[in-house]
Symmetry: C3
């Protein structure tokens, strides 16, 4: 029952995946993020919590977007940020990754933000590092991307604080999503009574019902009376494998339009992790519409990352 994310006092030591985070820790992150959401509104958007600390952005897979969010979060906390784009091609074996980690540790790095194409890379690194170092998983394979999951939950809590009363629909490529499973877990942990997934069979994991969700293949049924519509990104390269005839076809059946959204509750919010494929998963009228909280998600993403970094640095 050893949890690799917690230290002996049960405090957050690494952020590797939402699975395994006790409700207490989830709430600590969300509450801390609440206080940072205000920092961005201030004239001087900086707090000195990580002054003199060195945060290493270790990107074995390119992701300008994710890299930027962590860089901004770390700089607002006054940390020194070192970004390393390490092509996996120059990294023949796992052992070499650990040599890289050992070297950066010897340079007194305090925190690693790790992005890697392979599932489990951040776990492996967390297992390896010295006790005073923290690791944040910034996305590994299709496994986990916990800060994305947390910012989604934060956004839901912000707009729909009565979580015990919510109906949430997750729409699209659950199978390959880095976050969908984490999301389901977090929502359930925080007391959301009904989580639905809406997707073609080819984009759902085989045992998806075991996660405690209701499965729908039809948007008209699945969206009915929900409070939250969480769209997932459809990566073009998945289209073929999923036996989807075309993006147009997908949009027709699973794309979120104003008409389909009208089936949800009138005050339902619409979410998307970005970057959006407008006209594939979502219509521009909805993406830019009054029910969309897609840009607030981005804003809260900085607050959540600042919260995670400051909690890890404090423990």
């Amino acid at each position: 029952m050893l949890n690799p994310q917690l230290n002996d006092d049960g405090e957050l030591k690494h952020l590797l995946s939402i699975e395994g985070l006790p409700k207490r820790i989830l709430n600590q992150i969300l509450d801390t993020a609440e206080s940072f959401a205000g920092v961005a509104e201030r004239e001087v958007k900086k707090v000195p919590l990580l002054r003199g600390k060195t945060v290493c952005n270790l990107f074995f897979e390119n992701s300008t977007r994710t890299r930027t969010t962590f860089e901004i979060a770390a700089k607002r906390l006054s940390a020194d940020v070192i970004t390393l784009n390490v092509s996996t091609s120059s990294q023949s074996k796992g052992e070499t990754i650990l040599d890289t980690i050992d070297n950066l540790t010897a340079m007194h790095a305090d925190m690693f933000v790790v992005r890697h194409a392979q599932s489990g890379a951040a776990h492996m690194i967390a297992k390896h590092v010295a006790p005073h170092i923290s690791v944040i998983n910034a996305g590994d394979g299709s496994h986990a991307h916990p800060t994305q999951g947390l910012l989604d939950v934060f956004t839901i809590r912000k707009y729909k604080p009565e979580m015990h009363n919510l109906r949430v629909a997750i729409v699209g490529d659950v199978l390959h999503s880095r976050v969908a499973r984490s999301e389901i877990h977090a929502l359930t942990t925080l007391g959301v009574p009904e989580v639905r997934v809406i997707a073609p069979k080819t984009l759902l994991p085989q045992d998806v019902e075991k996660l405690g969700v209701h499965v729908y293949h039809d948007m008209n049924e699945g969206l009915k009376d929900v409070d939250v519509v969480m769209m997932l990104r459809l990566q073009n390269e998945r289209m073929a494998g999923a036996m989807l005839p075309s993006a147009q076809e997908y949009f027709k059946i699973y794309g979120l339009t104003s008409e389909k959204l009208a089936l949800a509750k009138p005050d339902a919010i619409v979410m998307h992790p970005g970057p959006m494929n407008r006209g594939v998963e979502i219509d521009s009228a909805v993406a830019d519409g009054t029910q969309s909280v897609i840009l607030p998600q981005v804003t809260y993403g900085i607050a959540v990352r600042m919260a995670v970094m400051s909690i890890l640095a404090g423990n």
Copy 2:
């Protein structure tokens, strides 16, 4: 008569092009730059004017040189600088650029420095952003590159403060120059009575006389008694289109040598926006000679960029 660069109080809101800047604003920028020119001489070359602000260097086109000048200017103002090199290949439509802008805005970016191969990109972004955000055009297509134009004017004013008495010659590829037209506009606005362009017909815009300049095709005539010789860069890829036989041929006719410079006033200054093609537009003896102010231009470029950023942040 709505000027997209000014706010309702007539203050600078964005810097998109020199055209449309009232004389009052031009002088404000030049006077502010004057005060920053001193900062670089100090022991601690930093002022806290942009502390806690996030400046996004958004480069859709690579330009290490320009990126570096803005990065240095922003850091000397104590801003946090985030650099994004966004290849236009991954950006299929204009709409996606605006999604990128919206996302960075949601992360509470305060200022965008935009470089794009297409004319009008910075204007489009300025039109789109929220009211508290400022946009600086760091070069778009062959349209505008206002900070380069401003630093040139600043340099002229520094060395030849009696602008009402000046004769300025701009030499070379006016047709494709990002700055030549802005320059002409700024010099005229600030009261320079005589601006000449010297170039082969193939490197001049058709209606160049309408800008109020005197046109010369012969260096010996055009350089006669001028106070300022402003050389333009000749891009190799333009050579063919301009029906220029060769770089050697160009240098023979339009390259600035000590002999040709002797036709100008004895205290004339020589300028070049860099990077220089030594032996094509300009002889090394002139580039490195006593009349050259090419390196001071670079120095003043930092002061001018600091001035623009601090004015925008204040308005």
Copy 3:
């Protein structure tokens, strides 16, 4: 007898190579590094010695590892760091490098950290820059990489302070090593009485004995009773040229294993400049063993670079 690394008062002006550094300066760097070794242990790992200074990391050759160490060192000294990756392909002639340098100087850069594939590049730049600017050689061709040499000497002094009593063995590709010759020079200058090199003839410079070292081709003889085993990295591309049958073969003869290390003194330390080729130059059991000081070398590397930068900034 003019030393390009010292100013008129005999103080360090540039760090280009260990050769030519008087014993006095070597000791000044090592003693200053001693004081910085403590900074990294502090809660806030930052000192304001280079606040407001601009350090330009000018990398004409890619080296993430070296770039990172200088970036961390400069940021811990509170400098503004500008990194320029300049591909040598876009740099046709030496003159253009100097134009780049002149431009960055005009932007009031205070220090250049230069990495270049050609021997002598940093020297050329140091010769060219204005008097108030300092240049640090971060590796040029197979010529010199002085901070690596200094951190090795610092590590030896830390673990074996009685340098007048030491026997040091340098093992491997001395011929192509950027550091081996500097090391030999520094150790001799600091009074180490016996330096050995152990390598196949094909990986030794022709006149290696003239450096005052003892030459061995057999590990069993060469490692006998040494206090320090300094392994060099074997670059794969050297294998063919050195007429080495294979990496396996090399490991068998010159790779450091626990058995071979047992021939050295029981308290001998093992060093490697990294990145290691485990199973080629060194067995993992030794690299990660109790006698290894390979990671402390990395730690001291930051302290040594901070020391060099702060000494240069002070002179």
